[in-house]
Amino acid sequence: MLERSGIPEQAQIDCVFPAEERLEKGPVAVIECFEKIPCNPCAQSCPKSAILPFVDINDRPVIDDELCVGCNACIKKCPGLAIMVVEYSGEKALIKLPHEFKPLPEKGQIVNALNRAGEPVSDAEVVRVIAGKVSVVSIAVDRHLIKTVRGFSFKEKPEIPEKNMGNLELNNTNELDGIVCRCNDLTLGDIRKMISDGYTTIDELKQLARVGMGPCQGRSCIPIILGELSRYLETPIKDLLPTNFRPVVTSVKLSDLAEHDEERTSV
């Protein structure tokens, strides 16, 4: 199951996949966001307002397939890379995937199409590459694989670019432009500058740049920043001062809090 393996079950996929008639009509986004987390950049990214407004920041996104035009905007905004756009094209299905690694594949290249467990299921042709902070790679597979394919891998191990820094998006010509904190739009360059200015704890970076205080509550940025601090201070991550995680666990309406009637218990 998803919680254990990280792989969604078929029933979950069916729930978020557009109906067959909608797929026939043209490109459409599929959002495989199965966990309630405080994150909403997708809802704000859609130029057609097809991703319905969140009532609670912890809501899971709901997409109105009829409004969605498959423009790819949300693909690039999802910190969890949970969104793709799919489309039928003749005998083929096009799967448009977010891609944050270097190198980028080339148009016309044959790659392995992978299922959600990361296993190769067929060959695929790269039909389009839109390079960006998050690149979008379109691959063509057989029609019947539209619900199966969720990734790709190179046929041969590509040459790794010189400076490889783990999970940072490296498809930028200038790695310092790579976004570390999506909630507050901070680049790796911004973070390195602050660290070299002497702000060498997560708490200082939080206060001054608000890292970790946006909708993702640090899930995307803090691990990268800890890596940067560890490298700069030459200290293992486990020895860095932990930041405070503050209550509440999930956001609560003030009116609901006001109605809470329990005896005062603790100090």
Binding site: T201, D203, Q207, V248, K253, L254, L257, A258
Partner: protein, 381 residues
């Protein structure tokens, strides 16, 4: 680490960096700030950073007016970036007859000191703050030059100006002891080494009484936890700071759009704990939804807490500790040490460097607690 300094300041909160800056501004040399964690790690980084000049004791009016004028020109004077002074005014909400009577006196005093506060009817208050349920108040006062700042940026701006004038800051440096020889301080011991000095400035905020113990001085100070929370972000609709003594709340809408709010809760620990009080959000929510019902729709995102360092009359202590030559203290600000910081810096520089007083700090010495000449401030939390 340096092994000697003319003056060692303990604590890198807003008080420590402001005192450091003013000392150098008035000609002191070789001043060091020692901070256990990082700048703003104490109350300064937890606070609402509101500033009001609407007080009931002239000394507080004078000192906050000095501070306000400093903040207005801080970018220029410190030359180190913006302090984000949002001068949207401060509205004090009044809900009892007794409070109204006192407020009227306060306004006369404030106006006589050049503070242009005004009394508003509930309707006028409601026009300024449409979120307000005006049936809950009798009146309000407003002063347009009050407001709030970014505590982080203000601290950094002072610190950078301090360093530019030649001061030295050691972060992650814990003071563990103070040497006293023949009734005079001689050195400060830290986990990173010892600095010999004849002047120690205790600006340790909620920990000031602990630092004082290092020279066997007992200060009439204690620290109390105060809670605060922030909601999700909303388009900016609230410009002034809001506060009410009788209804027990203060609130601001931060530039990011979140509403930051706090109140004084009963039975708070005084053992330097800053853990979150699980009852606070409920009490806060009741208070705020009573007065600004529409905010009930907003969700709370986070809560945290910090220490108020309290003196018997809730006013600061600026003094040299009589038994120990060279050991100075600036603490006990209750809930308004941030807004006082420029005045704190100016006052302590005058005291330590023996300059003639431009602020009435002579009334804020330790002797007032034995002589009984306490500051009588009716409008303080």
């Amino acid at each position: 680490m340096k092994n000697a300094a003319d003056i060692v300041i303990i604590g890198g909160g807003i008080s420590g960096v402001a005192i450091g800056y003013f000392l150098l501004k008035y000609g002191a040399k070789n001043v060091v700030i020692l901070e256990r964690d990082f700048l703003g790690a104490g109350a300064t980084g937890k606070c609402g950073a509101g500033i009001r000049q609407q007080w009931g004791a002239s000394i507080n009016c004078i000192m906050t007016k000095f501070s306000c004028e400093f903040f207005e020109n801080a970018a220029e004077e410190l030359g180190c970036g913006d302090v984000d002074f949002h001068q949207g005014g401060y509205m004090l909400l009044i809900s009892t007859e007794k409070e109204l009577e006192q407020t009227k006196k306060n306004i006369v005093l404030q106006n006589s000191l050049g503070i242009e506060s005004v009394l508003l009817s509930p309707q006028e208050a409601g026009e300024m703050v449409p979120l307000l349920d005006t049936s809950k108040i009798l009146a309000a006062t407003f002063h347009r030059k009050d407001g709030f700042l970014s505590p982080f940026k203000t601290t950094q701006a002072f610190a950078k100006a301090f360093e530019r004038l030649g001061g030295t800051i050691y972060k992650a440096t814990n003071v563990t002891g103070i040497d006293v020889t023949n009734g005079r301080v001689t050195a400060v011991k830290t986990d990173k080494g010892t600095i010999s000095t004849n002047i120690v400035m205790n600006a340790a905020g909620g920990y000031a009484q602990q630092i004082a113990k290092m020279v066997d001085a007992k200060l009439p100070l204690y620290s109390e936890r105060h809670n605060i929370l922030v909601t999700e972000q909303l388009e900016r609709t609230l410009s002034p700071m809001l506060m009410s003594f009788s209804l027990n709340l203060y609130m601001q809408q931060a530039p990011s759009g979140g509403f930051i709010m706090g109140r004084t809760c009963a039975n708070q620990p005084r053992d330097l704990r800053v853990t979150a009080d699980s009852n606070f959000p409920v009490e806060m929510a009741r208070t705020v939804t009573n007065l600004l019902p529409k905010l009930g729709q907003l969700r709370m995102l986070r809560q945290w807490a910090g220490l108020y360092n309290m003196s018997p009359d809730k006013s600061p202590v600026y003094d040299e500790v009589p038994e120990t030559k060279g050991f100075y203290v600036a603490a006990g600000y209750s809930g308004h040490g941030f807004m006082l910081a420029p005045a704190t810096g100016q006052a302590m520089a005058e005291i330590i460097l023996g300059l003639s007083p431009t602020l009435p700090w002579d009334k804020l010495g330790l002797s007032r607690f034995s002589s009984g000449n306490l500051i009588v401030e009716p409008s303080v939390v």
